[in-house]
């Protein structure tokens, strides 16, 4: 079965990352497919490349990127993202910011990509803020 997941919560402000990652890993174990993981609202902070994980705590960013490296699309809502400060190199240049900080394997996409992923999937599961 084909799934679209949505992550609405930030790291440390929600358990959305823990839930979403473990759920996605279980999907893959069971041979389901993931159409797209969409990061919306405060979920966009999951994609910040600049996070420094405290010793002994879990590297959730690396786990997201592990999913990304398996070909799962990690899609950050561009409207939610850039106003909160999550930008890629193209947006950095466009808005003349000093740095980009979108982690590897994540992309910035429009809301149309949420809707088309919903339309193309059998299930939509949302992890709240």
């Amino acid at each position: 079965m084909k799934y679209t997941l949505a992550i609405h919560g930030a790291p440390y402000a929600s358990q959305a990352a823990q839930h979403g990652i473990a759920f996605a890993e279980a999907l893959l174990r069971q041979k389901h497919t993931i159409e797209r993981i969409f990061f919306f609202h405060e979920g966009v902070y999951q994609a910040l490349s600049t996070r420094v994980i405290p010793q002994g705590e879990e590297e959730l960013l690396e786990k997201w990127q592990g999913l990304g490296s398996q070909g799962i699309e990690l899609a950050v809502c561009i409207a939610s993202g850039i106003k909160r400060g999550v930008i890629n190199e193209a947006e950095r240049l466009r808005y003349e910011k000093n740095a980009s900080n979108l982690a590897e394997h994540f992309t910035l996409v429009g809301l149309g990509q949420l809707i088309s992923a919903i339309n193309d999937a059998d299930r939509y599961v949302e992890f709240p803020s």
């Binding site: 919306f40 609202h41 809502c77 939610s80 949420l114 919903i118 339309n119 939509y124 949302e126 709240p128």
Partner: protein, 119 residues
């Protein structure tokens, strides 16, 4: 296309979630989705007329709401109990249909996708 219900359950200005959900609903309609919107709990405060989000630098939610018909998002519902609890009945648009809890359960059960059931 999918039947998509967006649920608005928080007031409009402490955060920008309602605005972001409404933008997603509009895009859903543009993509020919069968989009409906349910306001419940403190989300019904979103239905007050004459809001001024611009005074704190946010988009004005009530203005966005009145633009919805342009985007062919016209299935608008509100929880009748939530509206009554807050004495809001006079303030709400007649284009918004009031639903009992049972009707909300039926509405939810008829969807393919429910978005934003949290805040």
């Amino acid at each position: 296309m999918k039947k998509m219900l967006f649920i608005i359950s928080h007031p409009p200005y402490a955060n920008t979630h309602n605005t972001e959900l409404l933008e997603a609903a509009m895009v859903g309609a543009v993509f020919d989705g069968d989009v409906s919107l349910l306001f419940r709990g403190d989300g019904v405060w979103s239905l007050l007329p004459d809001q001024h989000g611009e005074k704190v630098g946010y988009k004005t939610f009530s203005k966005m709401l009145s633009a919805l018909p342009t985007y062919e998002v016209d299935q608008l519902f509100a929880c009748a109990g939530s509206v009554a609890d807050r004495n809001l009945s006079m303030a709400t648009d007649p284009a918004i249909e009031m639903l009992s809890l049972e009707q909300q359960a039926t509405l939810i059960a008829a969807q393919d996708v429910v978005i934003g059931a949290q805040g």
